[in-house]
Symmetry: C2
Subunit: 325 residues, 2 copies
């Protein structure tokens, strides 16, 4: 199989910073799409993998999984894309396609394991898949997304991971009119959760430990913003919320938030704290509440999310845009 | 208000064993039912309260909340019961009747707090409600259950708490044909969960730490019984179960069981371990799984459970009957 040499940023070990390197991309196969990469988000998962925080990093690594590009070549059998189209690749570039998970459109949980856009075994070239911190990407058309013509494509790139990570549980737990949704934390995930939950029609209450983020939360569209260190403010939400998206990636007290749920409510974890979280029995048993989790989303749902965000003019904030607020 | 003196078993302090005492029962009001108590179960919650394990015991205490009796008097306005009827009282004898919880038939989570059949503030006589370790009981007809004519009424008494505690989540999480249900632990709750889940039509797999309970589980009707200390047996159930009823009341590893769930599955805690349980983020995030809880059930559902158990000939095992198995 032919390959093409491509410039990228990666590293051979935890000890080395990212640096420029040359990687191989496979030649375009009949169902492949090749794209020039225009923008790529930087997600905390990229940092986790670079630093081998979860112990599963295969070096050398080229991170990047929030990839926005423009199609430069397509295989003979590709029908969904043509050269010049805006395109995108997110977290997943392959799955078995026939297990219950793939059949249910949640191929992120594929029984045989998905191929991620970086740091997964590369079935074509051997070694690991290399991500979007590079000049181009090649993958099967079924895993390439149609990128709507966002005005600011750079700001739309984080939707490919952060966006779908919050869109999927907001959809699954039915955020919408009449629903009171809590958002815990206002980082990369939380600030998109605010915008998407509002666009879905929910009443959004943000919980933050940072006094300066209370104002940010409201500017981003939250109906209410609560300083979680204030017990009196917190008590006002006791048993009031239908569900809470928990974006916190460090060890934290989930029980406080379980007690803000109505009956049958869920705290839905989308962050990945490295240490286990402690749950008191009474906090789930009373009110038939749940502590649940959610992880990214399937390809069809990711496309739906991109179209939804384009329609509602939702993109990620960047440091520079927040600093002007 | 007139009262009647009744013999009971109770205690004035953690230090004293239960002993015979005399308590007052209120005179029958227009909507009250008075019953002679025929049998009363002994539940771990009774022991917790006697020993003040959760710190909320009001002494003197008369425990007992799995009460089977025969009606001896009814108030003028009572329509559902007549003298001589079999009757029962479970955990709940009052709730506000107008909050969202009461309206949704889950008055066990009443916004204003329920009155339990023992150790709750007694709105009529002051002090605390006294439970079923006594000769008679008086309460509002809305909280009295029609007791089907079980052949062994003593063995049916534990259904009033243990039975509804497992019936309610089995119903809510939709145990039935085509569903693979796990049961964790085979004590008072677990053994009834096996019988009820089987009667609902589910495929039942029991997990136990005791080799001698593997055979018991199968005799009770379980399709499969797994020794949880055997990793090879456990691995066969990886991602296979729709949900698991977790009856364990001591600290234990929930993560192992979360990993046995299919996507969107739940481990549903019905035990009350005094220490918090640790949940690893990946174990809920992967597969969109939940760690949930459930607590007893509402009055209507308790009646439904009694009728279901009568129809399917389900009662509690006792030590003597188990020893002959």
């Amino acid at each position: 199989m032919g390959t093409k040499q491509v410039q990228a940023y990666g590293t051979e070990s935890v000890a080395n910073p990212l640096h420029q390197m040359t990687i191989n991309r496979r030649a375009v196969k009949p169902h492949d799409v090749e794209m020039e990469i225009l923008y790529c988000g930087i997600c905390h998962s990229d940092l986790h993998q670079i630093k081998n925080d979860f112990g599963g990093t295969n070096f050398p690594i080229v991170p990047g999984h929030e990839i926005v590009g423009r199609v430069t070549a397509v295989g003979n059998h590709v029908t969904k894309f043509k050269v010049g189209d805006l395109s995108a690749v997110g977290c997943i570039i392959d799955s078995c396609g026939h297990c219950e998970y793939c059949n249910d459109g949640i191929e992120q949980f594929c029984d045989e394991g998905v191929t991620f856009s970086f740091n997964s075994p590369d079935k074509d070239l051997g070694g690991s898949t290399f991500g979007g911190f590079s000049k181009s990407y090649v993958c099967h058309e079924d895993y390439v997304l149609k990128m709507p013509a966002f005005e600011d494509l750079a700001a739309a790139a984080p939707l490919l991971c952060a966006g779908i990570t919050v869109y999927s549980p907001l959809k699954h737990w039915q955020a919408g009119p009449g629903k009171k949704v809590g958002i815990l934390g206002i980082g990369g995930l939380g600030h998109l959760a605010i915008k998407i939950a509002k666009a879905m029609g929910a009443e959004v209450t943000v919980f933050t430990t940072s006094p300066d983020k209370v104002a940010d939360a409201k500017r981003l569209g939250a109906d209410n913003a609560v300083l979680s260190s204030n017990p009196k403010e917190m008590a006002e939400y006791n048993r009031k919320l239908h569900f809470i998206i928990d974006t916190v990636s460090a060890k934290h007290d989930v029980n406080t938030y379980l007690n803000l749920l109505r009956h049958d409510g869920s705290v839905v974890l989308v962050g990945l704290p490295p240490e286990p979280l402690e749950i008191g029995a009474f906090n789930v048993v009373m009110g038939r509440r749940s502590f649940a989790g959610s992880n990214i989303g399937g390809i069809a749902e990711t496309q739906e999310m991109l179209d939804f965000c384009f329609k509602h003019n939702i993109t990620s904030e960047s440091e520079s845009s927040l600093s002007t607020m």
